[in-house]
């Protein structure tokens, strides 16, 4: 089981490590930069734009800082689950991650019209856990019994949730430039799913009070497509092959509106309303298990194969039902509202709001920014944001232009640069574009 847990954690962290975010910094540069996730209604800065690789990602771990669960010992970094467990309260914790890699973007602007096409690979992951689950992994059922008083009096409710998906996206952006101030745009995406896992766990109660009896009350299912190769309570094999393009098709749409004047910029966009249809399998277990060991009516007649019988019985006991399953997953949608006011030629103030939905939990974020443009080829800004987890972050963003090449980047949590161990979140975006 611990192996399974570590797989889940690792998957989430692996996908989230490539930086990007729900961070909002680049929205304050969206008139000048061609970053991934840009409002489709915003006119291109130039007549011809080419987006080069753009990588973004975010990770949020509600249970706190990285330093809560690892420590340093003799120069080695040690993942200390006990420390982590001690830091947790009796509630559910979220670990949330998202990422996107744009491979290319090509756009052309005409007098009242512009279009763009692009390709990207995107994904997200969500993992919910609680103190008992971490405790179980950290100490085992026998060890936890000594440490957790509640475990001696009642079953533990684990109910972990794991949702994740990744997909390719081919997008077509169209925008109508109504006049010098107003423009509207839409995006249509064809999606091809790479893999998905979606869990539905109504109940996963584990009673560890008697170490000589396995007692569980379960009602859960995990639907997966091209991610889990095999699954049992004690093992998990990950699929390492890439499926054929179009095996899991989907569509998504975005729409936006943008107002721009010399002093004011206001944008609104509703992004990624869509879904992917997956053809996969469903792993499930339902019912109550109570196993006190291999029943032998006369122990004096035990035969040589008893250990193997026990192994076989345990395997059968933890077997997971597997069925073919088709299912849909929603693309995480976002509503982004932003506005900027130019105080001077070099200073702008801004604000933005993000509402993310179609995820396990909805999420909101408010950001305030200041942008400083000392030269036409260089911009830098700072932002302060707060989100629905009541986490306050301070970030930086900026861009630099050399001839037709633009480099932009954003980071929503400055302390990460100095001491990652004291951070519970991380979101960033970096990319290149060419425009003329």
């Amino acid at each position: 089981m611990s192996r399974l847990f570590f797989y889940i954690l690792s998957l989430i962290c692996l996908w989230s490590g490539t930086t990007y975010s729900q961070e909002l910094g680049l929205n304050f540069l969206q008139k000048d930069q061609l970053f991934n996730g840009r409002n489709p209604a915003v006119p291109f800065p130039k007549k011809t734009v080419i987006g080069l690789p753009d990588v973004s990602g975010n990770l949020y771990n509600e249970s706190g800082k990285l330093g809560n669960f690892y420590s340093s010992s003799n120069g080695n970094m040690v993942l200390n689950l006990e420390t982590w467990w001690k830091s947790l309260e009796r509630k559910n914790y979220d670990t949330d991650a998202g990422w996107s890699v744009r491979t290319f973007y090509f756009g052309k602007k005409f007098s009242h019209f512009q279009f763009g096409i692009s390709h990207s690979v995107e994904g997200d992951a969500y993992f919910q856990y609680n103190k008992d689950l971490v405790g179980l992994i950290a100490f085992g059922n026998y060890g936890l019994l000594d440490r957790e008083p509640l475990a001696k009096t009642q079953p533990l409710s684990l109910t972990p949730i794991l949702n994740t998906q990744a997909y390719q996206s081919f997008a077509l952006d169209l925008a109508y430039l109504i006049n010098d101030n107003w423009s509207v745009g839409i995006t249509a995406k064809y999606l091809s799913g790479l893999f998905s896992t979606k869990s539905s766990i109504q109940k996963f109660d584990l009673d560890i009070r008697d170490p000589l009896v396995i007692k569980a009350d379960e009602n859960w299912s995990i639907r997966s497509a091209d991610l889990i190769q095999s699954f049992a309570i004690d093992s998990l094999k990950i699929n390492r092959t890439v499926n054929t393009f179009g095996t899991h098709p989907g569509v998504a749409f975005s729409a936006g509106a943008f107002y721009s004047s010399d002093q004011l910029k206001i944008g609104a966009q509703l992004r990624d309303l869509g879904f992917i249809h997956w053809n996969g399998v469903e792993y499930s277990r339902s019912g109550t298990t109570e196993y006190p060991g291999l029943r032998i009516d006369n122990l004096l007649q035990t035969d040589a194969g008893i250990f193997n019988q026990i192994k076989d019985t345990l395997k059968a006991l933890i077997s997971v039902k597997k069925n073919a399953a088709s299912f849909n997953t929603a693309i995480i949608g976002r509503l982004i509202l932003d506005g900027q006011y130019a105080l001077t030629d070099k200073w702008e103030l801004g604000g933005a709001f993000l509402y993310r939905f179609n995820n396990y939990h909805s999420y909101m974020r408010w950001a305030a920014s200041t942008v400083f443009k000392p030269a036409h080829f260089f911009s830098i800004g700072g932002q302060v944001a707060i989100d629905s987890y009541h986490k306050l972050t301070t970030g930086l963003f900026g861009s630099i232009r050399i001839s037709v090449v633009n480099l932009y980047m954003s980071l929503d949590q400055l302390p990460v640069l100095f001491d990652a161990r004291n951070s519970s979140r991380f979101g960033a975006n970096v990319g290149l574009s060419v425009m003329w």
């Binding site: 992994i137 026998y142 196993y291 032998i296 006369n298």
Partner: protein, 497 residues
């Protein structure tokens, strides 16, 4: 990719730092059940005393019963067929014969079985004659036994011959004063009577289906036997006592005459010698019931029970006991009743069975038992470290110290789980009668040291040795059929991730 590799990657990515060494620090101790088994007291006793039969009474009480061979005496053993072969001459037309006294038996009435008789003759008369032969004391189907022979003259003298064989089967013989009479009449065609020159009566053997008459005093040898007692094997001193052992001698008799057992030997052989079995019953003599003439075909049973009230049985059964040896003969008509009518049928027999019963009530100290189990212990190699958690719920009023020996493919012990035997099973609580009233739960961990996992996983068999102990107050306890031990075994410890 191993999970630890994922973790390393995870931490590197999260931290954004150049971290050279990352490891997982986990002391997770897992527990899961392996076995949920049961040992009934009856199975445990059967395993410990393979020579005994375990008797379960209706009230659940248990008795170990050692049974000797069935000693048997049949009619064939005491009354052999009378061999024939020598012709009895008939010197006159009436010859009286006294029957031989076989085994002190004087026949008053009998039914013959099998065998044949013949008549031989010789005469010198040149004519056809008729010869009539009969035995007045013999009859068939309530008709006197009569044989008539027509003997033709063929021109050659003397005329000699022998009749066909006539069956003796089912002929009723009623000797008078133990005598029978052979008679004949010879006549010619004109009816004139005459004596023949020579006549002989012969038979191949005479056997009896039924004999009724006087049966005198005879000693019949019944073979010697012994009963092995394995209850005390492996123990010494006063480490096992049986509260009320019993020895029972059972005779089932269908002979129709009184019989008395002659006890030539009845001893308990021990490690150091032998001890005589003593009882006033033996002194008085053991006689066996028998059916009366009117009850022919029936069997009568006689039981002699020797217990602590009428014998030294409790004293002579102890940890030194190895076997009981007995040599019994049977004496017929012990009182020599002269004017008696007894009987023997063809199927008459007497069987004598000796049983020794140990009610499972008493005390034991360090009572040993062991059993070897074949195992494939290779799954142990999946363990990192830990132990076996054993929980026993014992309703048997006996505790057990145990040791587990690990054996290689040649059956050689190469290690033991404990340095010294450990008490893994605690005795159930008992009432004043020694009957268990409440199970005792005991939990213990058997460690599997890291350093021994590799060697223990090569074990091919495990010898479990147990030493049983009744409560230390030395009061006798009673083990009943409902008593059992529930044994739960689980693993606790770390697994290889």
């Amino acid at each position: 990719m191993k999970s630890t590799h994922f973790l390393i990657l995870f931490l590197i990515i999260l931290s954004g730092c150049n971290i050279k060494d990352v490891s997982l620090h986990s002391d997770a101790e897992w527990a899961f059940p392996l076995i949920n088994g049961n040992i009934k007291a009856t199975n445990l006793i059967r395993e410990s005393t393979s020579d005994a039969e375990l008797i379960i009474s209706q009230d659940g009480s248990l008795t170990l019963k050692y049974t000797g061979e069935v000693l048997q005496l049949t009619k064939r053993d005491i009354f052999t067929p009378i061999p024939g072969g020598i012709p009895i001459p008939m010197l006159d037309t009436l010859v009286q014969i006294t029957l031989p006294n076989v085994n002190n038996v004087i026949i008053k009435r009998s039914v013959l079985n099998q065998g044949n008789y013949m008549i031989s003759y010789s005469h010198t008369r040149p004519e056809n004659i008729k010869l009539q032969f009969w035995v007045p004391e013999m009859s068939v189907n309530n008709e006197p036994l009569l044989n008539i022979f027509d003997i033709p003259y063929k021109g050659i003298l003397p005329v000699s011959g022998t009749s066909s064989k006539y069956s003796l089967n089912d002929i009723v013989l009623k000797p008078i004063n133990n005598k029978i009479t052979l008679r004949y009449i010879g006549t010619n065609e004109m009816g004139e009577r005459f004596k023949i020159t020579a006549g002989f009566f012969s038979f191949d053997q005479i056997d009896f289906k039924y004999i009724e008459g006087y049966i005198g005093q005879n000693v019949y040898d019944i073979k010697k036997d012994s009963i092995e007692i394995d209850f005390y094997t492996g123990i010494s001193g006063d480490n096992a006592t049986i509260d009320d052992p019993k020895v029972t001698m059972t005779a089932v008799n269908s002979f129709g005459f009184p019989t008395k057992a002659l006890i030539n030997q009845f001893v308990v052989e021990t490690n150091t010698g032998s001890v005589n079995f003593q009882s006033p019953l033996l002194d008085a003599g053991l006689t066996f019931n028998f059916p009366k003439v009117t009850e022919a075909g029936q069997s009568k049973t006689t039981n002699y029970v020797f217990d602590k009230s009428n014998s030294n049985v409790k004293d002579i059964f102890n940890t030194q006991t190895r076997r009981v040896v007995y040599d019994i003969d049977a004496l017929s008509n012990p009182d020599q009743v002269q004017d008696s009518t007894y009987f023997v049928t063809d199927s008459s027999k007497v069987t004598i069975t000796v049983t020794i019963e140990f009610p499972v009530k008493g005390t034991v100290k360090q009572y040993p038992a062991s059993k070897i189990f074949d195992v494939d212990a290779s799954p142990l190699s999946d363990l990192e470290e830990g132990g076996l958690l054993i929980k026993t719920t014992n309703l048997i009023p006996i505790a057990a110290d145990m040791q587990l020996y690990l054996m290689d493919k040649n059956g050689q012990v190469f290690d033991s789980v404990f340095a010294l035997p450990q008490t893994l099973i605690m005795a159930a609580k008992t009432n004043a009668l020694g009957v268990s009233t409440e199970a005792t739960i005991h939990t213990q961990v058997i460690p599997i040291p890291v350093s021994k996992i590799a060697s223990w996983s090569t074990a091919k068999s495990i010898k479990i040795s147990a030493w049983f102990n009744s409560p230390s107050n030395n009061l006798p306890i009673i083990v009943s059929a409902r008593d059992d031990i529930q044994i739960q075994v689980g693993f606790i410890g770390k697994l290889k991730i």
